[in-house]
């Protein structure tokens, strides 16, 4: 723990593990922060994991 750090934590909590929550978590974790990704459901993925294909490329959402 550096002296300039004081009481600052190096962790972030992200609430909601849909595509936005996952992207925020990955950016932070890949920038050397520790992430707690919390979701009320048993699975991450959110609404996007419930879509068939996505516009405008018609790629499979899953």
């Amino acid at each position: 723990m550096g002296s300039d750090r004081g009481k600052t934590s190096g962790s972030v909590m992200v609430v909601g593990a849909g595509i936005a929550g996952m992207q925020a978590s990955l950016d932070l974790a890949n920038s050397d922060y520790y992430v707690h990704l919390v979701d009320k459901l048993p699975t991450v993925g959110g609404m996007m994991a419930r879509l068939d294909k996505t516009f405008p490329t018609n790629d499979c959402a899953m």
Partner: protein
């Protein structure tokens, strides 16, 4: 598309996934919050559960499958979908009868009937709320018949109907009789743009696009001619290239778009068909019968999110979206708490991903001093060199509970593997992926001096990385690993024929062993990262990107071609919400100039560029003296911006009474609206036409914004907006409604019948055909205001030097329109603001913060390890035909004219293998997938005698 992200968060060492949990309270200060979580019981231990699915297979209870929106069933013991992360089942205690069958069947001993609700605590510095949305429930709109007529479904249900993993396995069926529909109607704005019945006055921003998509996909799935009709008020395809998509659906795929209000949907009991009664633009009441009706439901903040906001003390707006400021789009009312995605406001996936990165930037900036203090690192032992050794292969065959073992004779496969060449050790495991098996594999590698490992189990997509790490953990090169998929590609599909499945497993193992013997150890090149950033463009986007990086502690060179900062925003006065742009800009410029990490270089022109991610070199000529400077940097953020289109239409530049919206903004700022008695605004000038097919996104709100200013300052003034579709998406719909309430008159026209503008005795005369009256209207105006679209800055010279790709309209092309909206195709290069496409200042700020976040993922590391899977050229046998140069989608192979050879830079090679495939002399090999390493598998297969 989402699967790789699921796997990445699931496997990331520094992402701790906490499912089945909610926030109870948040105490403390920004930088040091204490969070109390409520962890609801799952009744199956996610650590022990291997996802084999035996529990669900034996569960006798049928429950409604909420994943498929109630259109089919699942068991009480369930997993939402096969790709779920964590790959662990759970028990739905609402339906579980507690029979104990799953507990008896679970070989991993993961069932915990006595699981209870617990509380746990976390210490975090920042919080990001990405709680998302749910589809509007149309049950209470009784005139639509949802819940009453089986063939009226929501768009969310229709997504599942179309999906291959959905209730009908992707066959286009209607729920009532599982017949394929012949005619489908989509009804737009269900639960959006309506305050009387549902209370959601906002536009949900995504429904037009998904309805177009669903219609196109439904047509693809249909066996005959499927008639698709979309009933709408306005079609709002305002995103980047979305208009082209809409035109394709309309003109090429024949999807019908009907401007109307739907009155009722009534079922014809004999057939289950539905009669849609609607009012067309001319005011006539019409009826049309469809086999199925899809309700395009809007996005809505769920009750649970409202409670969450309350617990955190976060202010919400009247629709329960998080209250944010136009200039700080991801900051909530509580310091240290940020938001993104649909909880912030209705938006599509690229918008959500952009904002997510922006929130990550903001959350990380607050904690920059503590970066890396909580993260975990795995220390790997030094690698041993096994190049000279004879292959000693270890084969581990997985039972996957009884997923494989229940079909394939695993002991026989294991015995067979022992007879194969170079195999030094074999074993079988209950679950090869479990943590204790990893320890066992490590033990056996050391004990038997194994220098190659084969695992015969499931898919490398989900498990290869993990096994490779196990090899690395005992000093073995990760590329000396091979997998045989004897589950997904064997036991699951040949479950009725175990003998054949066992034989196939043997074949797959023989092939894997053959390849394993041919594998070479590969060294991943490590490159250093220069921690300086280069931002090109000193407008609002570029400045925010520079500040985002500066706050994270990185040195930034900010290039601006003009003599001063500010860009296009210098021409703008207020956002539609009333935010003072000039004040914001002044403060922003002051912050940027004062920041000790940011060096502003104005009057700069890029003249030379070279390098790759982590190590770029850019030369610029600066100032009137053209002083040359060379900057070394690790990443690039492109923020070159866009400007207002200069109209050629409607006598602009010929008559001073014809102005653009930006000019009208100036007039209103300087003189106000007191002396205006009649203003006509014409939309889509320079947009949605042959020259520029796309929508410019910002012009509708611009018109509404200026119309409101006029009406508020001078209620007597007449304001007419001549439009094609009003696209005040998201929360801006309220301003459109306000404008109508204040008496602004909106008149729709078709592109074939544009308005005519002519000078008249007093002012200008505008003639327009009114659809409702079916008559030409003549409107006198003091001012005709053209809602001119956006045009990308001319970046031809820059792109010639830096080799960036632009679309035909001159906007930069992102790496992936959906999932990587801020990344450019080249690694280490990012994009933000209107250089990416037309957008509002708020959206440009969010994307700029996002670009800073994406760049931070590079700059926070001192070095980057490159994948060893890259293409190598055998220059001795290469005939320099240049086929590879022409075929590479990333422009990596180049012909070095000095040395007269083809060169492939491993630092920028993506390892896709296209060059290796197309090389007519087979002089290009892709590491880990060399021709011999593939062909030996085929030889091994044929050696078994097919």
């Amino acid at each position: 598309m989402i699967s790789p992200k699921l796997v990445e968060v699931g496997r990331h060492l520094n992402v701790n996934i906490i499912t089945n949990s909610e926030i109870k309270s948040v105490e403390g200060e920004p930088g040091n919050f204490t969070v109390t979580l409520v962890n609801h019981p799952r009744y199956i231990d996610p650590v022990k559960c291997t996802g084999c699915g035996e529990c669900a297979m034996h569960c006798p209870v049928t429950a409604v499958n909420s994943y498929n929106k109630g259109l089919d069933d699942r068991r009480a013991t369930f997993i939402e979908y096969p790709q779920a992360v964590p790959l662990a089942f759970g028990i739905d205690t609402d339906t579980c009868i507690g029979c104990g069958l799953c507990e008896n069947m679970c070989v991993a001993k993961a069932i915990r009937y006595d699981d209870t609700e617990r509380e746990s605590a976390l210490t975090v510095g920042s919080i990001i709320l990405a709680a998302g949305s749910q589809g509007y429930d149309p049950s209470k709109l009784d005139f639509l018949g949802y819940g009453k007529f089986a063939n009226v479904v929501t768009s969310e249900e229709f997504e599942r109907i179309l999906s291959a993993s959905g209730p009908y396995r992707g066959h286009l069926c209607r729920p009532l009789d599982r017949e394929e529909p012949k005619k489908i109607a989509w009804l737009q704005c269900i639960g959006s743009r309506e305050t009387n019945k549902c209370g959601n006055g906002y536009c949900s921003s995504v429904c037009c696009m998904y309805a177009v998509k669903e219609a196109m996909i439904a047509k693809e799935h249909a066996h005959g001619d499927l008639d698709c009709a979309i009933f709408n008020m306005d079609i709002r395809t305002f995103g980047k290239d979305y208009e082209k998509y809409y035109l394709r659906a309309k003109d090429k795929d024949g999807v019908r778009f009907i401007k109307s209000r739907v009155h009722t949907v009534v079922e014809i009991p004999e057939t289950g068909d539905l009669t849609v009664r609607f009012v067309n633009e001319a005011g006539e009441i019409l009826e049309e019968t469809f086999s199925m009706v899809v309700l395009s439901v809007g996005l809505q903040v769920p009750e649970t999110s409202k409670i969450l906001a309350q617990q955190l003390g976060i202010e919400l707006d009247k629709y329960s979206f998080v209250e944010t400021d136009p200039f700080t789009p991801v900051s909530t009312s509580r310091k240290g708490v940020y938001t993104c995605g649909v909880f912030q406001g209705p938006k599509d996936i690229p918008g959500s991903i952009t904002e997510a990165s922006a929130a990550a930037c903001a959350a990380g900036s607050d904690l920059a001093v503590a970066r890396g203090t909580d993260t975990k690192v795995i220390e790997m032992p030094d690698q041993q060199d096994v190049t000279a050794e004879t292959p000693r292969i270890g084969v581990f065959v997985c039972n996957c509970g009884i997923n494989i073992g229940g079909v394939v004779n695993v002991p026989a496969v294991t015995e067979y593997a022992a007879t194969l060449p170079f195999v030094a050790y074999t074993d079988q495991n209950l679950f090869t992926c479990s943590q204790d098996t990893q320890d066992k594999i490590k033990e056996k590698i050391i004990e038997h001096k194994l220098n190659r490992v084969v695992v015969a189990s499931c898919s490398p997509k989900t498990h290869e990385q993990m096994f490779m790490e196990t090899l690395e953990a005992c000093g073995l090169n990760r590329y000396l690993f091979e997998m045989a998929n004897i589950r997904n590609q064997n036991s699951w599909i040949h479950s009725k024929t175990p003998d054949i499945a066992t034989q196939k497993a043997k074949d797959l193992v023989r092939m894997a062993v053959a390849r394993s013997a041919m594998l070479k150890q590969l060294n991943e090149k490590v490159i250093s990262v220069n921690k300086q950033a280069l931002v090109i463009g000193g407008g609002v986007a570029g400045m925010n990107a520079a500040l985002g990086l500066g706050k994270q502690g990185f040195q930034v060179a900010l290039l601006e071609k003009d003599a001063s900062l500010g860009g296009y925003s210098r021409m703008l006065h207020h956002t539609i919400e009333g935010g003072d742009i000039q004040k914001y800009l002044k403060d922003l410029i002051a912050d940027v100039i004062a920041h000790d990490k940011i060096e502003v270089i104005t009057g700069a022109r890029v003249v030379d560029f070279s390098g790759y991610k982590g190590n770029f070199t850019t030369s610029v000529l600066v100032g009137p003296e053209n002083k040359k400077r060379t900057i070394k940097h690790g990443i690039i953020i492109v923020a070159t911006g866009a400007g207002e289109y200069t109209p050629k239409e409607y006598g602009f530049n010929q008559d001073p009474r014809v102005v653009t919206q930006v000019q009208l903004g100036d007039i209103l700022e300087e003189k106000g609206a007191a002396d205006l008695s009649s203003v006509v605004m014409i939309q889509c000038v320079g947009s949605r036409n042959e020259e520029n097919e796309n929508c410019s996104r910002i012009c509708c709100q611009n018109a509404v914004k200026n119309a409101l200013i006029i009406k508020k300052q001078n209620p007597e003034a007449n304001v007419f907006v001549l439009y094609r579709d009003i696209r005040t998406y998201g929360l801006m719909e309220d301003f459109y409604k306000e404008a109508r309430n204040l008496g602004v008159i909106f008149i729709r026209f078709e592109p074939e019948n544009p308005p005519k503008v002519e000078p008249a005795a007093e002012g200008m005369m505008v003639t327009i055909k009114d659809h409702i009256l079916q008559k030409n209207l003549e409107i006198r105006a003091d001012l005709v205001t053209l809602s001119a679209g956006m045009v990308a800055e001319d970046t031809t010279e820059l792109c010639g030097i830096m080799k960036f790709n632009r679309n035909p309209e001159g906007y930069f092309i992102e790496a992936h329109v959906k999932l990587r909206p801020v990344d450019m195709p080249g690694d280490g290069i990012f994009l933000c603001g209107t250089a990416h496409g037309p957008k509002l200042i708020t959206e440009a700020i969010a994307q700029a913060q996002a670009a800073a976040s994406r760049a931070t993922t590079f700059l926070s590391k001192s070095e980057i390890k490159l994948s060893a899977i890259t293409a190598q050229v055998d220059t001795e046998h290469c005939v320099k035909c240049l086929t590879c140069v022409r075929s590479c989608p990333f422009n990596v192979p180049v012909f070095n004219t000095e040395k007269q050879v083809i060169e492939i830079d491993e630092a920028i090679c993506h390892g896709c293998g296209i060059c290796a495939g197309v090389c007519p002399r087979q002089t290009i090999q892709l590491n880990y997938y060399e021709d011999d390493q593939i062909l030996c598998k085929i030889d091994a297969l044929l050696a078994g005698g097919m």
